[in-house]
């Protein structure tokens, strides 16, 4: 008897305790939630939702589109599996645009970084004169790629400034078609893009050079190192973070190359200067093959992810602490 009573009492007690503790836990949770829904958390939530809507959802949606024959001109679209990807393998325009993107990327990265480093070494000097010259190299960074390209298109087009000056000075006898022949058009594009990127590289290398301690150069000199040796073994390892950032930014730039192509060549002549990004936009929005263009966009994404992964890992391994 006794045990059952106590059991009962204990049971009742336990029950009521449970109820009250549940009540208080609900109350506490509500209180905690209302205190959690403060300014910082609400704004955080808005930011993350916006990011999901603008970036994450489209990323997956694009992958889904790449498996369909979606075309806004037709009401229905079908799931066609990997057909778009199979078609890419036979698409000569796609192959050409991949090649062009790689060639522009490598040429611009080399040109802008090598010249940028040389110019930075030259301008890495005290005084208002050098400060003024450094400012000039920064100005193209402030201009839009569209405007830079239009300036250069006035210089480079057949009746443009460059031909005028070359004819007047007697250097050439016949006008040169800078933007209308495949090989020259490619070189002109590289020149224009490298010109704008060069200024960026100069600024980054100048900042990196400021961080190289003078004593190290003096020590190298005492050890009998000449300028090139001291540059190779002292300067270069110390400005490696600058190299990393410049190369990575050139990569990002290469993968989204559109404006300069649109203004200077429109992908011509005969599609030879079409970059991958330009081809994607043309296929997606002018030719209206949304599904097919999405398949190319997926390839662009995978290329970008793998190449930048490899490049960043390699360059980071070359950096040293001092």
């Amino acid at each position: 008897m006794e045990p059952t009573v106590t059991d009962n009492i204990q049971g009742k007690l336990g029950h009521s305790e449970l109820v009250s503790s549940r009540r208080s836990s609900i109350g506490m949770m509500a209180a905690r939630w209302s205190s959690k829904l403060d300014f910082v958390r609400v704004t955080l939530l808005v930011g993350i939702l916006l990011y999901i809507m603008v970036l994450v959802v489209p990323l997956f949606l694009g992958f889904y589109y790449s498996l369909t024959n979606l075309n806004p001109l037709y009401p229905d679209s079908d799931f066609i599996g990997l057909e778009n990807y199979a078609n890419l393998l036979d698409d000569q325009n796609f192959e050409q645009s991949l090649k062009m993107t790689a060639m522009i990327g490598v040429s611009v990265t080399l040109l802008a970084n090598v010249l940028g480093l040389i110019i930075a070494l030259l301008l890495n000097h005290q005084g208002p004169f050098y400060a003024f010259l450094r400012t000039i190299f920064f100005v193209p960074q402030v201009l839009s790629a569209v405007i830079v390209s239009f300036i250069w298109s006035i210089i480079l087009n057949t009746r443009g400034f460059l031909n005028r000056v070359l004819l007047d000075t007697g250097i050439i006898e016949k006008k040169i078609i800078w933007l209308g022949l495949p090989d020259l058009a490619f070189k002109s594009l590289v020149l224009v893009i490298a010109w704008q990127m060069l200024g960026f590289c100069v600024v980054v290398y100048l900042a990196a050079l400021q961080g190289v301690p003078k004593q190290l150069h003096e020590a190298a000199k005492i050890d009998g190192a000449n300028f090139l040796q001291s540059f190779r073994h002292v300067t270069l390892p110390l400005i490696a973070p600058g190299v990393t950032i410049n190369v990575v930014l050139m990569l990002i730039m290469t993968f989204k190359l559109y404006d300069q192509v649109a203004v200077l060549t429109e992908g011509g002549p005969a599609g030879t200067t079409e970059t991958l990004s330009y081809y994607i936009i043309r296929t997606g929005f002018t030719v209206n093959q949304t599904g097919y263009a999405s398949a190319m966009a997926v390839v662009l994404f995978l290329l970008m992810a793998s190449i930048s992964g490899v490049v960043v890992t390699y360059l980071r391994s070359k950096e040293v602490e001092h």
């Binding site: 300014f39 900042a207 936009i281």
Partner: protein
């Protein structure tokens, strides 16, 4: 001594060659069409403001319409981006756990994604929501995409250097999270805000492809898409082209010359510490 002069001479020469296109773009604003085509390199003689007047008096009001739209889109997006990324950066820097690390990683991944990858699906998405062709959609895109990643990147790095005791002191004084953030934290973030504002304004102002696609050809223009469509129409009139390009770049150039130190230190600190 000769070394010093050789260095000065060589630096000057390289800079002059480099600056040639900038010089041409500037000096030809003030020349007549005839002088531009005949003698592109020479200084203006006669000096004329006709090109500038023609651009300002254009019947379609392209310059001011474009500047106004670009200014509104850029400033609204930059304000949103600063608020969102400062708060996200603050939360991530102050709550170091598995979740915030994943969130940070997701934001960092967004830094590298080319806009072409998401432009096609986002256009479909905006179309389905009836937002295609609106400034609202454009601002939404700028405030939530890869630029938000950049903002979060800048602020998170900076906030990690600010001691936590500051927050705690403010909380003990009874500040709520809104007051704590705006009165205590945000004012100290000035250098990060300067860097983020400079870069985000520059990128949004100069962006071409995104407004071209989202606003569409006839829906109204930003300064870059406006120039692109206008120059297609009178490619021969170089004087007017140069005047249009000069006047439309002027706001950013003035911004740059006014804040040159911040521009360069922002660029280099952002770039080298990344």
């Amino acid at each position: 001594m000769t070394g010093k002069f050789a260095r000065i001479g060589f630096s000057l020469l390289i800079t002059i060659v480099y600056a040639m296109p900038l010089y041409l773009a500037f000096v030809n604003v003030f020349k007549t069409q005839e002088q531009i085509t005949r003698r592109p390199i020479e200084l203006p003689a006669p000096f004329t403001l006709d090109n500038i007047e023609t651009v300002i008096d254009r019947p379609d009001n392209l310059l001011f319409e474009g500047l106004k739209n670009s200014f509104l889109i850029t400033s609204i997006s930059v304000i949103f981006l600063n608020i969102l990324s400062a708060v996200i950066g603050y939360y991530i820097a102050r709550n170091d756990n598995v979740y915030t690390r994943i969130i940070l990683l997701c934001f960092m991944a967004g830094l590298m994604i080319p806009p072409q990858v998401i432009l096609i699906p986002i256009a479909q998405l905006f179309k389905a929501l009836g937002l295609m062709g609106t400034y609202f959609a454009l601002i939404l895109y700028f405030s939530g995409g890869g630029l938000l990643s950049f903002g979060v990147f800048v602020y998170t790095g900076f906030i990690k250097t600010i001691p936590r005791e500051l927050d705690e002191a403010a909380l003990i004084d009874g500040a709520n999270s809104f007051q704590l953030f705006w009165r205590v934290i945000f004012p100290i973030l000035r250098p990060a805000t300067a860097t983020a504002t400079i870069f985000l304004s520059l990128w949004i102002w100069n962006e071409f492809l995104i407004p071209l696609i989202i606003l569409g050809p006839s829906q109204g223009v930003t300064i870059t898409t406006g120039i692109y469509s206008a120059i297609g129409q009178y490619t021969i009139d170089y004087g007017q082209m140069f005047a249009l390009m000069f006047l439309s770049s002027l706001p950013m150039l003035l911004f740059f010359f006014a804040m040159q130190k911040e521009f360069i230190s922002g660029l280099t600190s952002g770039a080298l510490k990344g």
